[in-house]
């Protein structure tokens, strides 16, 4: 053996170690991205026999692969629906998995061309819908919508859904890519008990709102709190407030990313009203540092009266809610008599977006499971389990609803046609959450930006997004 001295063993090891040290972290970030082979549609299972119990003609023996987002609503409702599916198609093997990490679990499967048959694409790791649609990765669900419904075969599934649900699942054309299963009511959440203790009614105008907050302040209670770490909860009451002041068109312009959409006087009045909450000290101290859970707990403990949130809050805060809390949702208080829309205008929209990938092996099976989920039986099961409404219109008959849910149902009835649905939330996630939410509205409510500064900042963000070619654009029809 020759001598190796001239190689400088020690240097070699030292250098190798240094390179390794650099390589490890960089690699772990970079290698997360690697695309797989081509997608093919050839591995789809054959069509089955169409019948009364099988209107979508699914292959009765084909396995079904379902991935559920295991978040605020859990996964039991899906398991129950799968059991129903198993009763109708006993020879089909259903594999169920649930995760909070939708994107990291499923992205490789999409890239490899082997996605599951039905996905609840929800939560913080939601896959970007616009991209999925734009890249033609989804199955058109119109076949499902035109199939007869489980409860009344004379009625199409389409006609059993709540208004607006089908439209939310469409993008540019007539195809319906997404079916929102849950139905969420957004607004100002409060405890009837705590308001009664103050001898107060839910305020219908902003002056009344300020008066209630002042009353509470004298008793050492804050008027408002919110998820300070996720300030994009504030729009849940702020956006319908803007619509109430200036009409639906203001929100539509905002959704369409039109120039100067945010410079509308209605936006300014709404921002100024909310800023007043901060200036008068009606916001619970420390709110900008609270997570959604922490803010909900403080609200449950009666430290603050009002909380902008969605109807999932009842289920999410179940453990910390006192028995006599009497949770309720209020439509945003108006500004004054000149408001364009009446009191009761509220934000409601579909939640829990279900999708059937285009390259799924058994897409008909995925749609069939959705059809079963939209039956009255499964829908009531969902309502009972997680106290949230579903997209099935009605379906609450004969159920004793928990207080928050009952109040959501009431609010929807009261709102009638005045339900708004700002689409910026699902069309432009980055803009809505981190830019408008955290960097502008969050700063406004923490008192670090004035309404004018916040609006100018948001307008700049919106203009940037409008110019950004890498973001797919949508418009109201």
């Amino acid at each position: 053996m020759g001598s190796t001295s001239e190689f400088g063993r020690r240097d070699l090891i030292k250098r190798a170690a240094a390179i390794g040290l650099i390589a490890v972290p960089s690699m772990s970030v970079l290698s997360a991205c690697a695309s797989g082979g081509d997608s093919g549609n050839s591995n789809q299972v054959d069509k089955g026999e169409k019948s009364a119990t099988n209107p979508l003609a699914i292959n009765e023996g084909a396995p079904l692969d379902v991935v559920i987002f295991d978040g605020g609503f859990g996964q039991q409702y899906a398991k129950d629906a799968e059991a129903e599916y198993g009763k109708v198609f006993p020879s089909s093997k259903v594999s169920h998995s649930a995760t909070q990490k939708i994107q990291s679990t499923l992205q490789p499967r999409f890239n490899g061309g082997t996605p599951p048959d039905l996905i609840d694409n929800s939560g913080a790791e939601q896959m970007d819908m616009g991209t999925l649609v734009g890249k033609k990765q989804l199955t058109d669900l119109n076949a499902l919508l035109d199939a007869p419904s489980v409860d009344d075969p004379k009625k199409k599934v389409r006609d059993t859904l709540r208004p607006g649900v089908v439209e939310m699942g469409q993008f540019d054309g007539q195809e319906t890519w997404i079916l929102y299963y849950a139905y969420t009511v957004y607004g100002v959440w409060y405890s009837k008990t705590n308001l009664r203790k103050l001898d107060a009614q839910y305020p219908e105008t902003w002056d009344e709102m300020l008066a209630v907050c002042e009353k509470a302040k004298k008793k050492g209670i804050a008027g408002w709190t919110y998820a300070g770490k996720h300030p994009y909860y504030l729009p849940f009451s702020l956006y319908p407030f803007i619509a109430k002041i200036g009409g639906r068109e203001v929100l539509d312009k905002i959704d369409n990313l039109e120039p100067n959409a945010w410079k509308d006087p209605a936006v300014k009045s709404a921002f100024e009203a909310y800023y007043e909450l901060y200036k008068k000290g009606y916001i619970l101290k420390g709110t900008p540092g609270l997570t959604h859970i922490e803010s909900q707990t403080a609200w449950n403990e009666g430290k603050a009266l009002f909380l902008p949130n969605g109807s999932w809050v009842e289920n999410e805060s179940k453990k910390t809610t006192p028995k006599d809390f009497q949770m309720a949702v209020g439509a945003p208080s108006g500004l004054d008599k000149s408001d364009k829309l009446p009191f009761g205008t509220i934000w409601a929209s579909g939640g829990e977006p279900f999708i059937v990938p285009k390259n799924a092996k058994n897409p008909r099976g995925g749609m069939e499971l959705l059809r079963i989920m939209l039956s009255k039986k499964s829908s009531q099961n969902f309502i009972k389990q997680v106290s949230s409404l579903t997209s099935l219109n009605g379906g609450t008959e004969g159920l004793t609803l928990p207080p928050g849910l009952a109040s959501s149902q009431e609010a929807l009835t009261k709102a009638g046609q005045n339900v708004v649905n700002p689409r910026i939330q699902d069309w432009y996630v980055a803009l809505q959450k981190e830019k408008i939410g955290v960097a502008a509205i969050g700063e406004l409510m923490a008192g670090r930006a004035t309404p004018d500064e916040a609006i100018a900042k948001i307008q700049r963000f919106a203009d940037d997004t409008a110019k950004d070619a890498s973001v797919k654009k949508y418009r109201h029809k």
Partner: protein
Amino acid sequence: MQHGKYRFIVGFLALPLAIYGVFVISPFIQAIYYSFTDWTGLSPDFKMVGFQNYQRLWDDEVFWKSVGHNVLLLVLPLVTLGLGLFFAFMLNVGGRRRKNAAIAGVRGSSVYKVVYFFPQVLSIAIVALLFQFAYNPNSGALNSFLKAIGLDSVQPDWLGDPQLALWCVMAVMVWCNVGFYVVLFSAGMSSIPKDFYEAALLDGANRVQTFFRITLPLLWDTVQTGWVYMGIMALDAFAVIQIMTVGPGGPDYSTEVLAYYLYTKAFRDGQAGYATTLGVALLIVTMIFAGIVMKLGRRERLEY
């Protein structure tokens, strides 16, 4: 037998190099390739777009902010290693002189050594969560403590305050890393021959002098490794940012770092192509850092 030497070495290195090539080098090259495409990460169909991603990067305000924060985070190694060295010195050399021993640690040093190592045992996710509770402005340990000592008027929002948020994150990272370096440096110090210290003490050197004249120079290699390692940790910082901060990455982008920004682009916005561009930028920043450290740290090696 000189001629067989290379073949011999190659024979041994082939397999590890191949594995390294497949699992480390090729993802690098792939990532660089993807950074020139408009790949979404959600479908295998994409096209080349040239330098478009890099142009966008250059104009991206948030990117420059994240780079700034990453550079600021490089203060971390300085503090962490400084504290680590100080504690290790106190544990091994800093104690009062006792009988039969030229040098000793402070009283109870063996217990401290274990205590310092505790945070290292906890997963970073747990540490971040615990500190998130501590930073809670309403009921967190920090503000409760401030209240208890009568500072009712000083109740910062901690992570909710753009001025403080990044420093809060840094404090957590220092807290959970110091222990490791205390142990590492302790091990290094115990291998320094005792006679050096004895000789120095006979010459009348005090503790500060022994530290700078004996301990530090003989420990230099270890310190340098620690420096590189800690620096890379600072350039990452992903876990703490994602678990603890407002937004995450906020408030108002005040805690945005490259690794987290990359993650949101790849896994939330469906812009994997742009995300790999950020990855390449991160790689360059890391390389520059490593280069600087290697250059600055080069010293004559002392053999003993």
